[in-house]
């Protein structure tokens, strides 16, 4: 099923949208969630949450690329789950309490921060534009898709050490670029 058809199903509030999404992007989202969470059960929950988040956000959203859109949702949900899990592991009452409260706070309360984040995102895109396609792919597969270093090394036919060196070089380049742009995080 085409992405546009799936989006239409969401807009029509048809439950088939979730079925089709899972059929087409279940593996893709699951892999990304596992890469980030390193836990099969958490990853599965994360993927299920992804379909519900997509259901909640379409409409009003009408993504041009459903793949990228679902990927973003997975990333956001995965990092949220990771944060919660981290707070619980620490066993710190304050961490758990704050984590619980964070869920009930209305979003979008920090316009300045959001503005800064957009600037940072624009700076990252600017830096990505300075890279060639291959370097860009290496960086984003590692830090957007969460592909492990050894797997990247396999994909590129090199040693994990060599791939780690390559990533280090890219990170160093990113830091210099952001400093040059006076973007501070």
């Amino acid at each position: 099923v085409e992405d546009t058809a799936i989006v239409e199903l969401y807009w029509e509030r048809d439950q088939q949208a979730i079925v089709e999404s899972d059929r087409k992007y279940g593996g893709y989202c699951g892999t990304m969630a596992r890469n980030i969470l390193k836990n099969m059960q958490d990853a599965e929950e994360c993927v299920n949450d992804t379909w519900h988040r997509a259901w909640d956000t379409m409409p009003p959203q009408r993504p041009v690329s459903l793949r990228a859109y679902l990927g973003r949702i997975v990333r956001n949900l995965a990092i949220d789950k990771w944060r919660r899990g981290k707070a619980q592991k620490r066993g710190d009452g304050m961490d758990v309490m704050l984590s619980e409260l964070e869920g009930c706070l209305p979003g979008g309360a920090e316009p300045e921060r959001e503005m800064e984040n957009r600037e940072i995102t624009a700076a990252i895109e600017g830096w990505l534009n300075t890279l060639n396609r291959e370097e860009r792919a290496v960086f984003l597969r590692r830090y957007w898709y969460g592909v492990p270093v050894y797997e990247l090394a396999q994909q590129w036919g090199c040693t994990p050490n060599r791939m780690a060196q390559r990533l280090l070089k890219l990170r160093t380049g990113l830091r210099r670029y952001l400093e040059g742009q006076e973007v501070w995080i």
């Binding site: 690329s65 973003r72 990092i79 940072i120 990505l128 860009r136 792919a137 984003l140 995080i185």
Partner: protein, 209 residues
């Protein structure tokens, strides 16, 4: 950690084209890395070592006579005995002539030619040796003689044989039929006579009829 999370959030929001392009990009993979190259290199090196050692042993290590050969002689050849210097220490004299046969007489004339040789034979296993006009053709050093293995009773084997040529294949081979030429193997008399078996300096002589 907080800054890294913020970066993560910002990175999440980059444009779709970057995300899709990174996924679609197919790296030019030459050979998949599997960490096995060290193992295969080790195996190849070990094989090369075995082959090299086999070659060295086959071509450069002396093959001493068999136990039977040693037992046949009075003493086993001494590996430390100087092969070249020994004949020079004592001048060679004509070897005792086998009692019978035409070659016996002519052998006495041919034997003195032995000292003219440098005692460094070019004889190699598998080489064909041609003898002409009773000249000394080949002188074996002690090591070479040991390598090829001397007959237990040279005299009796040579006597009465009329080979035109001798094929050296690691063992003495004397054809029993042939033209009326005669070949003898003579030990240097001052190092040991034919029956001595102690010394393995040999002179190959051919006598024309």
């Amino acid at each position: 950690m907080e800054r890294a999370m913020r970066f993560y959030d910002c990175l999440t929001e980059i444009g779709d084209r970057y995300i899709l392009d990174a996924e679609e990009y197919a790296p030019e993979q030459k050979t998949p890395y599997n960490g096995m190259w060290r193992r295969w290199t080790g195996i190849a090196a070990a094989l090369a070592l075995v082959v090299g050692l086999s070659f060295a042993v086959a071509h450069y290590f002396p093959r001493m006579g068999s136990a039977a050969d040693v037992a046949a002689g009075a003493e086993a050849p001494s590996a430390s005995a100087p092969a070249v210097a020994a004949p020079e220490a004592a001048p060679m004299e004509p070897a005792p002539v086998p009692a019978t046969g035409e070659g016996s007489d002519k052998f006495a004339d041919a034997a003195p030619a032995a000292p003219e040789q440098t005692m460094e034979s070019s004889l190699k296993p598998g080489q064909e040796i041609h003898f002409e006009n009773g000249e000394v053709d080949v002188i074996l050093t002690q090591e070479q003689a040991a390598v090829c293995g001397m007959p237990e009773d040279l005299e009796s084997e040579v006597e009465g044989k009329t080979p035109m040529w001798l094929e050296f294949t690691g063992e003495w081979y004397v054809p029993t039929e042939g033209p009326s030429a005669y070949a003898l193997f003579v030990y240097s008399p001052d190092l040991g006579i034919i029956s001595d078996g102690t010394h393995y300096f040999a002179v190959a002589v051919q006598f024309m009829p």
